[in-house]
């Protein structure tokens, strides 16, 4: 039998149901893979016992002849931003080191209820702030990919870089991610896998360590579009514990998957053709246009005139919300406490936060505090919130003439670790294609399209109308079917 770790979510699910292999065999194989891949630093904590318990339950249910749960025996990786009961949850920070939540996030609970098992907690950029996985307290995640003829370590993207690295290296068939400004889509593109951020409010944020609450949204990362659809179905749904959760039924995304785009109009935003975009990215975009045409779609040019203001608006709104959300880490209720000799309460807060937060997190808290401070609030935060309205209106206007929008996912292939970390602004600019749809709360997905001249993956992004995850997944499938992306990194780890 071939290696079960080469199989995706759907194949594992169906294989276990059909008795081709046991859930135990699957869990064992992935647990071994995870334990041997320390060089990637994709996991902060490994939880083989959790994966094996879920496998045992699946095998026993099958032996009894019970109907199997939707993800029975499928092991996954859990981004360490999701609170998992009794299992350390740190958001890759020092300030939360040792924190063992006494509750479970709704998204992770839904996945366990569906029969999935957890292989471990995946590394990320600290508090999900970063595009390269160089801000984790637990060290950089390394991409399994390398440029042809080079051994230099590459960034797996961020913030869900542990998730992208683990899925691409076949350490797990699928993983959870979270996306605030592109943190599912950009890492998926960097490692040649698929990932979808659903409409804001589809997945509960309860128990997800908060970064920017008006933007944060959970979603799946997996090797293909079908696997994303399956995982998303088992993550999404109304949750009374999250006041922004949408009270709507979860569609049967997997069942309704179709790569037939006849009758669909796909918009190409002219403002995304930025100066300085590498020709290979533009060529892939053109290729993507040909693929969706081949699937029956009609192409229309659309305009999103406020695109250039999306990033600066994002870098006001997200840090502002982060500065407020991260105020809870004060050394009193959980996590690290730094109490210098003779310190008073205020000193303790300041010392704890100085010791517990990394440089990028501090930078964003300071920016957030500055833009919200007296005298600057209207000039910065209110203005950014107004620009956000204009960006959302741009998309609304575009969607009067098209059903979906096709763009590149990122303006570059994966870069080397250290290449951009000295210049925060250069790093922020890597999110230029993903941030606008995040600001507008829209569903958006990245699928692998091809390789660049160095043999590194490049992704295409599909953006949909609110709640049209099906349209996004279908266009993703149409591209996937035509791209025939089968490249995978050579196992050097």
């Amino acid at each position: 039998m071939s290696d079960v770790t080469d199989l995706g979510v759907a194949e594992l699910r169906d294989g276990i149901r059909g008795g081709k292999f046991s859930a135990r065999e699957v869990a064992d194989a992935f647990v071994i893979k995870v334990s041997r891949a320390k060089a990637l630093n994709a996991f902060i904590v490994e939880t083989p016992e959790h994966a094996l318990a879920a496998a045992r339950e699946a095998d026993e249910a099958l032996a009894r002849g019970d109907k199997l749960k939707p993800l029975a025996g499928v092991p996954i990786g859990m981004k360490d931003l999701f609170c998992t009961k009794g299992v350390q949850t740190t958001a890759a920070s020092h300030i939360l080191e040792g924190f063992k939540p006494v509750y479970e996030s709704t998204v992770s609970q839904k996945l366990w209820d569906a029969g999935a098992g957890m292989l471990g907690k995946l590394n990320l950029d600290q508090f999900a702030m970063g595009s390269s996985n160089e801000t984790s307290y637990f060290g950089n995640v390394i991409s399994p990919w390398r440029k042809q003829g080079s051994n230099a370590s590459l960034a797996p993207g961020g913030s869900s870089g542990g998730s992208s690295s683990a899925v691409a290296a076949r350490l797990c068939p699928g993983a959870t991610g979270t996306d605030t400004g592109g943190s599912i889509r950009q890492p998926a593109a960097f490692v040649g896998i698929s990932g979808i951020k659903p409409t804001y409010g589809r997945c509960s944020r309860y128990g997800v360590v908060a970064f920017a609450s008006s933007l944060d949204q959970a979603g799946p990362m997996a090797r293909d579009v079908r696997d994303c659809a399956i995982l998303l179905e088992n993550m999404a749904g109304f949750d009374p514990k999250d006041s922004t959760s949408l009270n709507l039924p979860v569609p049967k995304w997997e069942e309704l998957l179709s790569g037939d785009l006849r009758g669909k109009k796909i918009g190409i935003p002219k403002e995304y053709r930025l100066d300085g975009t590498p020709p290979e990215i533009l060529a892939l975009w053109d290729q993507g246009i040909e693929w969706v045409k081949d699937a029956g779609a009609e192409i229309v040019e659309v305009s999103l005139p406020h695109t250039k203001y999306a990033l600066p608006a994002y870098y006001i709104i997200a840090p502002a919300e982060a500065s407020s959300n991260l105020a809870r880490y004060d050394g009193v209720r959980y996590g690290l406490r730094d109490l210098p000799e003779g310190a008073n309460l205020q000193d303790m807060y300041a010392a704890t936060r100085a010791a517990g937060f990394g440089d990028e997190v501090k930078r964003r808290i300071l920016i957030g505090t500055y833009v919200l401070s007296a005298g600057f609030y209207d000039a910065y935060f209110t203005q950014a919130s107004k620009v956000r309205t204009l960006i959302a209106q741009d998309f609304e206007n575009a969607f009067t003439v098209c059903d979906l929008i096709l763009t590149p996912t990122a303006p570059s292939a994966a870069f080397a670790l250290g290449e951009k970390s000295a210049d925060p602004l250069a790093m922020y600019l890597n999110d230029v294609f993903t941030v606008p749809s995040s600001l507008a709360g829209l569903p958006a997905m990245s699928v692998p399209g091809g390789l660049d001249k160095d043999g590194l993956p490049l992704g295409l992004q599909i953006i949909g109308k609110p709640l049209d995850e099906q349209g996004v997944l279908n266009a993703g499938l149409a591209i996937e079917q035509r791209a025939g992306f089968a490249a995978r990194p050579d196992a050097w780890w």
Partner: protein, 95 residues
Amino acid sequence: MSVDTATVKKVASLARIAITDADAERLAPELNNILGWIEQLGEVDTSSVQPMTAVIPNTLRLRQDVVTEGGQRDAVLQNAPQGEHGFFTVPKVVE
């Protein structure tokens, strides 16, 4: 708008993050660079635009005013760096 080291120290104090003079020296140009870039938003005419409050139209739900998950003192205190007699403990705040 230019951020000097005094402003960085003031903001850090508002954010309850202890910083040294050297940190402030290093952060001032970094923050200036980012804030300078952000200021291009001022170009956009927003005089007739409402600031966004909800990205997807959704009304805030109300729930019954009842205790849903009470009586969990031990669980609440479980991760506290320091707790005594069922309370969180902090340095003395009242002399």
